[in-house]
């Protein structure tokens, strides 16, 4: 881990994040914009599957998910830039490790959604209740994304 840290610190990107005056603040702003976009699209889709705003067609609403992917991509890039910038703040940080665990489970949850649940969700009509399996996947997604935000916000208070 120590060599990984030293290698990250030696990269040009790390130098940029530490020396460019606006590098870190701009990435931080984008990270919060990405978070909101993700929560507003994927989070609301999860809530629809859980029974909120059942008048919405889940198949049509699924179009929102690609905007959530955009939010996630923004946060993956800016998040990586934070880690490269100051690796010692993150790679030994229990809050950051918890965030990674949540993200890993969310990744598995996405695979479960598209391999098992999606075909059942795609045929739902406005007003229909989602099957139990879809609700479990949606609840997992909704709660873990909030968990990711919580763990991410706690990173600053667990810097070793």
């Amino acid at each position: 881990m120590r060599y990984f840290q030293l290698w990250l610190e030696s990269t040009r990107l790390s130098g940029f994040m530490n020396q460019a005056r606006f590098g870190w603040p701009i990435c931080a702003c984008l990270h919060f914009l990405g978070l909101s976009l993700l929560l507003g699209t994927v989070g609301l889709f999860d809530l629809r599957l859980l029974g909120v705003a059942k008048g919405l067609s889940p198949a049509a609403m699924h179009r929102f998910v690609r905007w959530g992917v955009l939010g996630f991509a923004i946060n993956l890039i800016t998040g990586t830039m934070f880690i490269v910038g100051k690796p010692d703040r993150y790679i030994y940080n229990p809050a950051f490790e918890l965030k990674l665990v949540f993200l890993l489970v969310l990744g598995i949850n996405v695979l479960v959604f598209y391999s098992i649940v999606h075909s059942k969700v795609a045929v739902l009509r406005p007003g229909d209740s989602a099957p139990l399996g879809a609700k479990i996947v949606a609840a997992t997604s909704f709660l873990l994304w909030i968990g990711v935000i919580c763990a991410g916000r706690m990173v600053a208070f667990f810097i070793p």
Binding site: W24, P25, A28, C29, F32, L33, L35, S36, L37, L38, L39, G40, T41, G43, L44, L47, V52, A53, K54, G55, L56, S57, A59, A60, M61, H62, R63, F64, W67, P126, I146, I149, C150, R153, M154, A156, F157
Partner: protein, 167 residues
């Protein structure tokens, strides 16, 4: 003004918010403020994206059901925001970016109310193509909420004075 900042900062409540070592005090305040932000801006963004043509096969009217979630996020942030102000009044009020953030929030709220009145109260909602005026409102809504988030995030990078030492 320095007197008022000093007086607030010396109060037991402000000192406790700042100095309590518990993760359940200041860190939790920041955390709730972030989650509230995600729900206010995220729900508004979803409505704006739909009005702008994303998921256009989906009816707009049922999205009203998400408005209570949006307002819960807003009030959570009003309360946690005031608590953060009580903890660090000098830090916020001496930073011009803080006033920019408040201005963006005010504009965004007026915009959100206009969307409610124009879009959600339209009796022909979902019966006709989305009018140009609604799209403009959706565009400005995205701009104002993004502005509020950006200004809010920049507060951590632009403050010049943390506390009032004396008055």
């Amino acid at each position: 003004m320095a007197f008022y900042f000093y007086w607030i900062e010396q109060s037991a409540f402000s000192t406790w918010l700042r100095e309590s070592p518990s993760l359940l005090v200041f860190p939790t305040l920041l955390l709730l403020h972030t989650i509230g932000m995600g729900f206010v801006a995220g729900t508004n963004a979803a409505i704006d994206l739909r009005v702008l043509g994303v998921a256009s096969q989906m009816r707009i009217a049922p999205m009203q059901r998400f408005l209570p979630l949006m307002w819960s996020g807003f009030w959570l942030n009003a309360v946690t925001g005031v608590a953060l102000l009580i903890a660090y009044p000098t830090k916020a009020f001496t930073n011009p970016v803080f006033y920019i953030k408040l201005a963006f929030i005010a504009l965004a709220l007026v915009n959100t109310q206009m969307i409610r009145n124009e879009v959600f109260r339209d009796p022909n909602l979902d019966e006709r193509p989305v009018p140009r005026k609604w799209k403009i409102l959706a565009g400005t809504s995205l701009l104002f909420w993004a502005g509020a988030i950006t200004a809010g995030r920049l507060l951590a990078h632009t403050n010049s004075q943390l506390l009032t030492e004396s008055y």
